[in-house]
Each structure stands twice: as structure tokens, then as C-alpha cells.
């Protein structure tokens, strides 16, 4: 049986990549990110996502904009900055390489 803890560490490393990927499509609201992730094995909670978003924003990879919402107070919509898009491209290239390595080494 797979060790859940080890897999957790793996997933955690990927989370940043996935969040950047989700945001790269269109500007999204934090709850949308959670909803998208919830359907995958990367299901994440607010307690993890919000600090992550705040750190990515601080690193200049993403930015947000307030938009009025029909229900409740205005919401933050996130989108990638140029630096964020560059980081995502790097990540994607790296992932492709890793994937290839795994495939080529497999028995």
C-alpha cells in the first residue's frame, strides 16, 4: 500500500504549480480554485490555499483585482503576472522533463 504521508509531500510540492496553472486560464476567485482542485487528488482547504496565494502574490507571481459580486461583498479575482507566466512555463518544461525521465527509466 502506498504511504499516504509520502504522497502528501509529493502533492504539496505540486500544489503551487497547479494553482498557477488554474489561474493561467482565466482570472479566478479563490473558491473557484478550491472547487477545481476538489475534483482531483489535489483537493485543498482554505487553510492551505490562502497563505499560499498570499505568498505567490508577495513573490510577484500573481495579482488580484476586486470585483463586485451579486451575493455578498466584493471578491478577489486572481490572475498571473508576467513573472507568474514565466514561472509556470519553467514549471511546465521541468515537469515535461521529469515525466520523460520517469518514462525512460521505467522497466
Amino acid at each position: 500500500m502506498l504511504d499516504e504521508q509520502k504522497l502528501g509531500v509529493l502533492r504539496k510540492g505540486f500544489l503551487e504549480f497547479l494553482v498557477l496553472r488554474i489561474i493561467s486560464g482565466a482570472s479566478v476567485y479563490a473558491a473557484d480554485i478550491l472547487k477545481t482542485l476538489a475534483m482531483t487528488e489535489f483537493a485543498t482547504q482554505e487553510g492551505t490555499l490562502y497563505p499560499l496565494l498570499s505568498r505567490l502574490r508577495r513573490e510577484g507571481l500573481l495579482d488580484y483585482e476586486w470585483q463586485e459580486s451579486a451575493s455578498g461583498p466584493p471578491r478577489k479575482y486572481y490572475r498571473l503576472t508576467a513573472a507568474g507566466a514565466a514561472r509556470l512555463a519553467e514549471f511546465s518544461a521541468y515537469w515535461a522533463r521529469i515525466n520523460q525521465t520517469i518514462q525512460s527509466l521505467g522497466g
Partner: protein
């Protein structure tokens, strides 16, 4: 029947059963601790509160207005534990690196050192002793600004700030090792966090204003900017309120006696209506009393500054600055028990739960004040005269039952 506590989550009011409130308070306190040192702590907490509010909304309807513990536990379970989110930067930042960032890039660097923050004197780049420099590093402000503020304070307080400087010169330790220099700009405390946030937001808006000026043709853009400005102002207000509430909880709550963030005390049951009314009345009356005392004190201060005498009462050989200090101390002595009494009455603030503490404060304060007046009465004939005069004024009213008092022999 259950007690219900009203809370505000990022600006919206919710009603929680008491144990639900305890669970939520604990979750938020834990989140706050986990985000210790994160420069975006206030913002993340506001976002978390917003998310909690959204989830709570789901459980409420026209016929259900109160959240139970089970529902709050469910919401907290969905939120998940809050992670520090400092990222690799936090792990890397040593004390020296932290100092570099604080001094150089300021807030943008974002890494939070783990060392506790302390106030030091810093002799490097000091004009006199380094007190101002230390304060500047502590609040991450420009030294010149601190010096100007100090001079302004010295003028306004008639020299008391100079006295404070001299005291600090002897009391505040010098930062000698690099660790101590780093600690001088280390982990933020409440006021510093506020100053940082204001500075950051001011910079943000200077940017936005410059942007708006460049594209002043587009009304949509300007409307957007104005909306953002309004939103930010609202956020400022929230943060200010939050920090004030926190301060109040610390000042009037039990936290002075136990570690901050320890398990909150169970809330008191709601008061019966008459007691609630009296408590509210006491709150209002004491508030007016404090305001009156403050007004009188301000007049006394003005009169001492303008004429060198308090309402015609000569201050004798006392230097002006000493008289001002005496006035300030007197004011504190009179007002602090009144304030404590007021908070003991408070039907809705944090003190509500810790009434006994505030009441004890009030009694101790009043006893101290009475003691002081009594002792002064022996040494100051003027005060003795005043007491006598007051007695002759009041005594006939007592006995005469409202008949006009005969004027005292004076």
C-alpha cells in the same frame, strides 16, 4: 435555552451558540499564531473570515439565525488547519538576513525572522544616544521622521519628551551583537504591523493615483480606482477596529494575567433586562464623566501653558514641565479608575466576561486616588482650604433640603 454570542466575520454579523463561539475563537487564534510573522497576516485572516462567513451563510435561513457548535465544527473541518505560508524564505532567513531586509527592502522582502523583537538603542548613525534610531528601526521608519516627531512632542509636552528621552537613554539597552541589531527590527508586534500596513497601502495608493492621473481620460478606469480606494478605506477601518478590539481585550481582559492566546474564558450568561439597562446607563454616564474630566484637564493644561497657573492657582516654584507631568499623572489617576468602572459596566465589549477584573481595577484606582488626595491634604494648605470650603458648601444642602446655602465666610 442557550446563550448566543454575536460576532463579526470580516464585517458581517453572525450569531453563534456559546460553545460554537469558543470553537471558532480557538480556530482563529490558532490561525493567528500559525501566521505569526507573516506580513500578510491581517489580510489572510480577513480572507479566512470571509470564507468562514460564506460557509456559515449556507447553514442559515429565515427561520434559522443561530449557528450551532456542530455546524461550526463542520465549517472549521472544511477550512482545514492554517499553514504558516512563509515558504522557503522563512526557513532561509537568518537573523542577519532579516535585518538586511528590514533595513533595505522593508516590507516587500516578506521574510519573517523567528527572533522576538526588542527595542534597542543603536549607536550606528545616532545623533545623540541612538534612542531615535532604535525607535526608527523598531517601527521601520525614517530616522529623520522619528527625530522630528520627537522634537514636536518635546514642544507640545513642554519638555516631557526630553525627560522621556533621558530616561530611555539609561533604560533601553544598546544593541551590541548582530543578533540584537536584528532583533531590533524583528518580529512585528501589533502597532508595528499597523504602521507597516499603512505605509504599504499608502505606497500602493500613490501608485494607483499616479496611474489614474496618467489615464485620466477613461472614466471607467477612474471609477474602478475610486471603488478600490473605498474598499481599501473600509479594510483599513476593519483592521483598525480589529487591533483596537485586540488591545482592549488585552487591556481589560484576563490576558494580562495569563498567556495571550490561552483558552478563552467561558462567556457569562446574558443579563436580565433591567440589569442590562442599568449596565448600559452606567456605561453612558461614566463615558460622559470621563469626557468631562478630559475636557477639564485639557483646559487646565492650556491654562498652565498659557498663564503659568492652573485656573489662577500658582504652581509656585515648580518648573513648567514638572507641572505638566503632574497634571498628566493626576489625569491618569482620576480617569483610569473611571474607565475601569466603565468597562466593568460594559454590556457588550470584551470586558463583559471579565467584569470582576475591571471592577477590581476600579476599586484599586479609586482607593489610590483617595489616598493621594488625603496625603496631599496634609501638605497643601490650599487643598485643605478647598476641602473645607466644599464642606461648608455641601453641608447646608444636606441639612437644608434644598434651601439656599448661606455663603461661606471668606
Amino acid at each position: 435555552m442557550r446563550a448566543v454570542i454575536a460576532v463579526s466575520l470580516n464585517g458581517r454579523a453572525y450569531q453563534l451558540e456559546d460553545d460554537a463561539h469558543a470553537a471558532l475563537a480557538q480556530y482563529l487564534a490558532t490561525a493567528e499564531r500559525a501566521l505569526e510573522g507573516n506580513p500578510d497576516r491581517a489580510e489572510i485572516l480577513a480572507d479566512l473570515e470571509q470564507a468562514i462567513a460564506d460557509k456559515c451563510e449556507r447553514c442559515l435561513g429565515t427561520h434559522k439565525t443561530v449557528l450551532t457548535q456542530a455546524e461550526i465544527e463542520q465549517v472549521i473541518g472544511e477550512m482545514g488547519p492554517v499553514e504558516g505560508g512563509g515558504g522557503p524564505q522563512t526557513a532561509r532567513a537568518g537573523a542577519a538576513a532579516a535585518h538586511e531586509q528590514t533595513a533595505g527592502a522593508g516590507f516587500a522582502a516578506g521574510a519573517a525572522p523567528a527572533a522576538p523583537k526588542r527595542l534597542y538603542q543603536i549607536s550606528e548613525g545616532a545623533l545623540l544616544s541612538g534612542v531615535c534610531k532604535g525607535i526608527a528601526v523598531y517601527f521601520d521608519m525614517d530616522v529623520t521622521v522619528v527625530r522630528l516627531l520627537f522634537i514636536l512632542a518635546a514642544i507640545l509636552t513642554g519638555g516631557a519628551a526630553i525627560l522621556a528621552y533621558i530616561v530611555m537613554m539609561f533604560v533601553v539597552p544598546y544593541a551590541q551583537t548582530p543578533e540584537e541589531v536584528a532583533a531590533a527590527g524583528g518580529v512585528p508586534f501589533n502597532a508595528r504591523v499597523l504602521v507597516e500596513q499603512w505605509k504599504r497601502k499608502a505606497a500602493q495608493f500613490a501608485d494607483a493615483a499616479a496611474h489614474a492621473a496618467r489615464i485620466d481620460g477613461s472614466t471607467a478606469e477612474r471609477a474602478r480606482w475610486r471603488a478600490e480606494w473605498r474598499r481599501a478605506r473600509w479594510q483599513w477601518k476593519q483592521e483598525w477596529r480589529r487591533s483596537r478590539a485586540e488591545w482592549r481585550a488585552r487591556r481589560w481582559g484576563p490576558y494580562r494575567f495569563s498567556a495571550w492566546g490561552a483558552n478563552p474564558m467561558p462567556p457569562a450568561p446574558p443579563l436580565p433586562p433591567l440589569a442590562a439597562f442599568l449596565s448600559g446607563l452606567g456605561w453612558a454616564v461614566l463615558g460622559i464623566l470621563v469626557a468631562l474630566v478630559t475636557l477639564a484637564w485639557l483646559f487646565a493644561l492650556l491654562s498652565v501653558l498659557a498663564t503659568g497657573a492652573v485656573f489662577g492657582w500658582s504652581i509656585g516654584h515648580l518648573p513648567l514641565w514638572a507641572a505638566v507631568i503632574v497634571l498628566i499623572v493626576l489625569y491618569q489617576l482620576v480617569v483610569s479608575p473611571l474607565r475601569a468602572l466603565r468597562y466593568a459596566h460594559s454590556p457588550y465589549f470584551y470586558a463583559y466576561r471579565y467584569r470582576a477584573h475591571a471592577l477590581a481595577d476600579a476599586i484599586i484606582g479609586l482607593v489610590l486616588l483617595a489616598l493621594l488626595l488625603w496625603v496631599l491634604g496634609f501638605h497643601m494648605p490650599a487643598l485643605q482650604h478647598l476641602f473645607d470650603w466644599l464642606r461648608t458648601q455641601i453641608a447646608p444642602l444636606w441639612r437644608g433640603g434644598g434651601r439656599a446655602a448661606p455663603s461661606p465666610a471668606h
